[in-house]
Symmetry: T
Subunit: 70 residues, 12 copies
C-alpha cells in the first residue's frame, strides 16, 4: 500500500447549468486519458456574465490520479 | 485595448434555492447600475440555518466591471 | 445580549446530488444534538470520482451554535 | 428576505486613544452617507510611532451595508 | 512532561465595552466547564453597528485546554 | 490628524510595456475623479499571451484615497 | 455511503524524539474516546528549546473521526 | 527621498491591561536602541489565562525602522 | 463554448534584465509545445544576488492553456 | 544561465516509517522519468490512522525539475 | 555542506524608476554589511502617488544571507 | 512578568539525516549568541535532490528569544 504515488493537476471547466456540472465536465474529459482519478478539490468558483445574466459557471479544480512514468 | 480599467466590488446575495441562484441575484441587481459586468468570483459561501434546515444560501462575490469616472 | 457565547465546529458531509445537499445533510444531523445552530460556512468543496463520474459531493463546513456547559 | 443585497467597502480610521475608538470613528463617518451599516470587520491594526510613543492607532475595517443603485 | 495533550476550540464572545472584555467573557464562561485553559488566541475581531454607533464588540478566539477523555 | 478616513478600492489596469506602466495607467485614470490618492498596492500581476508573446501586462491594485461623503 | 458525517478537532501533542512520535501520541490518546479516527493532518510543527537543545517536539494536528450525537 | 531603506523586525510584548498597552511597551523598549521607528503592525493578539481570568495580553508586532549598517 | 477545458502548470523563468523579460522567456519556451496559451499569472518574484548586485531576475508563473488528451 | 526553465509538479507519497521516507519515495519514483530534479518542497503532511495507530505517513510535495518540450 | 545556516531579514527599498531598481537599491545597501547575500524574495510591491503620478516604486523583500555570530 | 519582550528571527538549517536534525542544528548554532531561546516554529520544510536521492533536509524556522538592547 505504501507504494502508491499520486499526482495533482489543475484544470478549469465550465457549464451553463451549475458548478456541479462544471466539475463533472472536467472529470469526464480528464478521465479519458488519466488513470485512477480519485478526488476533484474545488479551488475557485466564478461565473462569466453577459447582459446581467450568468453565461457560464466555471470551476477550477485540483484533480488527483495515479502517477505513471510519463 | 490597453485603455480599459476595471473595478472590483464585493457584494453578498442570498437565495432560498442554491448558491448559483444567490450569485445570479447579485449579478442581476448589480447590472441595473453598473456597466459591463464581466466576472463574478465566489469569495465565500455559507448558509443560514433555522430549526435544522437551511433557510438561505448566501454567496459573497467579487464583481468586476468597467471603471467610470464616478 | 452581550451574554451569548457561540461555538464553532468543523464537519464534513456528503451527497450524491449536490453540494447544497451535502451541507443540508450535515446541518440536519448536527441539529439533532446541538442547540441554536446559526450558520454553516463552507470551508472546502470536493468530489469523489469513480470511473470518470462523480460519486459523491463533499462539503466541509464550520457550524456555529450556542455554547453550553459541556 | 432573500431580496437583500449587501455591499462591502474597506476604510481605515485613526484614533489617539485605542483601536476601538479608531473603528468607532470610521463607523460614525461612514454612517453619514451609507444606509444600514451592519458589521465592521477588523482587517488590520497598526500604530504610528513618534519618539518611542504611539501617536495614532489605526484600524482597517471592512464595512457592510445595504446595496443601493448608485 | 511529554504526556500532555491539549485541545483547541473556537468560540465567539461579545461585549459592549471593548474587545479585551469580549475575550474575557469567553474565557470566564469556558472556564466553568473546561480544565486548564491556557491561551486565548484572537482569530477575528468585528463590531455590530446600529445607527452609526458600535453596539457590540465581538471576538472570535481559539482556546487551548487540557484534553480529557470526553 | 485623527480625523482622516481613507478608503480602498480595487482596480485592474493594463499596458503593452510593463507592469510599472500598467499601474501608472490605473493611477492616472483614477486620479481624474478621486481626491488625494496615496498608495497603489499591487495585489496581482499577470500577462495575456498571444502566439507565444506577451500581449498585455495587467496589474490589479488596491488604491487608497481620502474618503468623502459619496 | 452518503450517510457518513465526519468531525474535525484540533489537538497538540509532544514527544522528546520526533514529530512522527508526537503525532502518534496524539492519535493514541484520542483513540481511547473517539470512534473511527481516520486522518491526522499536520497543522503546525514546533520545538521547545532549553539551553541550546530541543527539549520537546510538538505537533498540532487536525483529527477527523465519525460524528456521533454528543 | 529614494535613498531610505527600512527594516522590519518581529517582537512580542505583554501587558496586564490591554493590547494597546502591550504594543506600547514593545515600542518603548525597542525605541531605546532602534532609530526612527515608524509603524508597529499587529500580527497576532492573544491572552494568557489563569483560573478563568486573563493574566496577560500579548501582542506580536512587526516594527519598521531606518536600516543602518549593523 | 462550455466544452473548453483549460489546464494550469507552474514554471519558473529567469532574465538578466527584468521580471517582464523573465516571464516572456517562460512564455516563449512553453509556447513551443503547448497550445493556446492564454494567461501567465505571476506567483512569486525573486532575484539571485552576487557580490551586491542582482545576477538574475526570476519569475514563477502559472500558465493556462487548452487541455488535450495527453 | 538565464536559459533554464524549471517546472513544478505536485505529488503525494507514503511511507510506514516517517515523512522523510515518504518524500524519499516520491523523489525516487519521479526521478525515473523526470530530468534534473532539484527541490522537493513539503506542502502538507498527514497520517492515515487505523485502530489508534498510524498506518501510513503521507507527504504532499512540490517537485521542481528541468522543463522539456513535452 | 550541512553546516551552513542562513538568516532572513525583511527590508523595504524605493526607486523613482522601477521595482527592479528598488530591489537593487536594497541589495546594494544591505551588501555593505551582510555577508554572502543569496536571494531577494519580493514580498510586496506598491507605489506612492502624488498628483496622479507615481512618485516612488517600493519593494519589500526578504533577503537571505549567511548567519554569523552577532 | 509583563516586562519581557521577545524577538523572532528566521533561519534555515540543513541536515543529511532528518528535519528534526536540521532544526536541532539551527538551534545549536543560534544558541551560541542569542540568549533565552524558547521556541523554534517550523515555517517550511524541503529537500535538495541529487540523482534521485535526497541530499539534504532543510528546515526554515522562526526562533524566539529574549530581546536585548542591540
Amino acid at each position: 500500500m505504501s507504494e502508491s504515488i499520486y499526482k495533482f493537476i489543475e484544470l478549469v471547466g465550465t457549464s451553463e447549468k451549475s458548478w456541479e456540472d462544471a466539475v463533472a465536465s472536467v472529470v469526464k474529459k480528464a478521465s479519458e486519458t488519466l488513470r485512477d482519478l480519485r478526488i476533484a478539490e474545488v479551488l475557485t468558483l466564478d461565473a462569466k456574465i453577459e447582459k446581467g445574466n450568468i453565461l457560464l459557471y466555471r470551476a477550477k479544480v485540483k484533480l488527483s490520479f495515479k502517477f505513471q512514468n510519463e
